[in-house]
Symmetry: C2
Subunit: 292 residues, 2 copies
């Protein structure tokens, strides 16, 4: 069993990006600038956004964090999105999800200029993904594909099972790995809450990707010997042994599944850091696409 | 075995649409207007476009057929697309594919205003499909879903195998049937040229959809007893017994597969007429979305 070390792989990517930024600085060129909008005080969201800002610092990107109270109106939020769309100094930006119930997430996501949509959630970017055209790939699926690629895992002709059909992970990663691309060319089965015989289906997977947020859902008897297992789950579970009172748990019962795997991502330190690396890649690309 | 009669189902849909058009006429409202651009003299393309124009006549839609020689430049074609985008009398239009090699099909497809893209090929419409948002669904996949629906076939929790990952059929129908929708909620496996053990995978299908254009590819030993089989293939094969010298053959070896099926579409008279019905549904919707 080999660990797919997302921390290490994302550090490599960040180092490559930092070199590009340093080179741009030398040449007097624009430095990529990522903005993030954070609404409210959700612990998970704050952690993610802070990690994104920190990654910008490490690489040498500029970053701007815009915070709103959870009572902010949809109108004000949409106004800020519009302002960021028009702000030429900002290359890309994200609105950290989830948003409070009184705000229509889809409306906000769709208001973002597709050319600045470095999270890859806009319909135009998802459509381009379906068509295998250039565009911004959703950050988490792109991070999954990147860690597969950088660890030399063959995907062509392999059977892949994805658990969970969310708009931001399961559905897009199933499309990306189905496409005629490298990595890609998998035979993908997308499973979800209505799927019957999930265990039997998971056992067919050479590559198993779980993205449902149910801690320990994937057990050893669902995994084929030698499979590659990618765990996208990051659920906070109570843990009195930690000062903060919780720890992150993935969808996969790591201890019992890991011995059967050829490769497996840990939680934390697997897909999470790769998502941030993808966001950084997208931000640099957003700037380059503008011809800056 | 029950035949999924696309001709009959599409006639029902056309009758419903004709009633709506008649009602609109009575009320002095605008009549839907579909335009079609046809480039060159490809036999299949001419047949399809003629069938679309004929369907408009039957329903009472207005239609305009615009023809170009196969030597037409991309520039002229894009100019016509732009003109149709701006023409308020046209509610929706299609550019019949395939286009000659010297023209970039994707560029043309993407130039169509998404609000008039009644073929549902534009990235925005595909992205909306992924997100389960309103938009124009690609005509052939939408026709497949419609014939499933109108024949009372349960899809939720069923296993579906799609053969072929084309942008216009295989990929989108796999997404549509995966979504949390009715019909939908299938556990879908998308197979393609790189898939190994295709026979074994097809045997798991409660619903098998083939869209590769290889006559007779699907044999009885690939189909589970009681499966629903949807045949999207329409390949012209030589047939001396016909005056025109050819006949249409599907991807499915109908004679040997049909006895095992609960439902099966014939070729011709299955998915083909449903594609046209979907296009008509989309055209009416395009007009309604404009508030006309």
């Amino acid at each position: 069993m080999q660990l797919l070390d997302g921390k290490k792989t994302s550090d490599e990517i960040k180092k490559e990006l930092a070199q590009k930024v340093a080179q741009r600085k030398l040449e007097g060129k624009k430095i990529p600038h990522l903005a993030a909008i954070l609404v409210g005080n959700d612990g998970g969201s704050m952690t993610y956004v802070n990690a994104k800002v920190k990654a910008c610092d490490q690489i040498g990107f500029e970053s701007t964090l815009i915070r709103y109270d959870s009572s902010v109106s949809e109108e004000i939020l949409l106004g800020k999105v519009q302002q960021l769309n028009e702000d030429k100094s900002i290359d890309g930006f994200i609105v950290q999800l989830p948003l409070p119930d009184h705000i229509d997430e889809l409306r906000v996501t769709q208001a973002i200029d597709p050319m600045k949509d470095v999270d890859g959630f806009h319909p135009v970017n998802l459509g381009n993904m379906v068509l295998n055209l250039p565009g911004f790939l959703p950050a988490t699926p792109a991070g999954i594909v990147e860690i597969i690629k950088r660890n030399g895992i063959e995907t062509s002709g392999k059977r892949c099972v994805v658990i969970g059909r969310s708009n931001i992970v399961g559905m897009p990663v199933s499309i990306m790995l189905s496409r005629n691309a490298d990595p890609g060319n998998c035979t993908v089965t997308l499973t979800h809450s209505r799927t019957q015989n999930i265990k039997e289906i998971c056992l067919t997977a050479d590559i198993l990707i779980s993205a449902i947020g149910k801690p320990g859902f994937v057990k050893a008897d669902m995994v084929k010997e030698g499979a590659v297992v990618i765990d996208v789950g990051t659920t906070r579970v109570p843990d009195d042994s930690r000062a903060r009172g919780w720890r992150l748990r993935g969808d996969v019962d790591f201890d019992e599944v890991a011995p059967k795997c050829s490769f497996i991502t840990p939680v934390p330190g697997g897909v999470g850091p790769m998502t941030i690396a993808s966001l950084m890649i997208n931000t640099l690309r957003a700037m380059e696409l503008e011809g800056k």
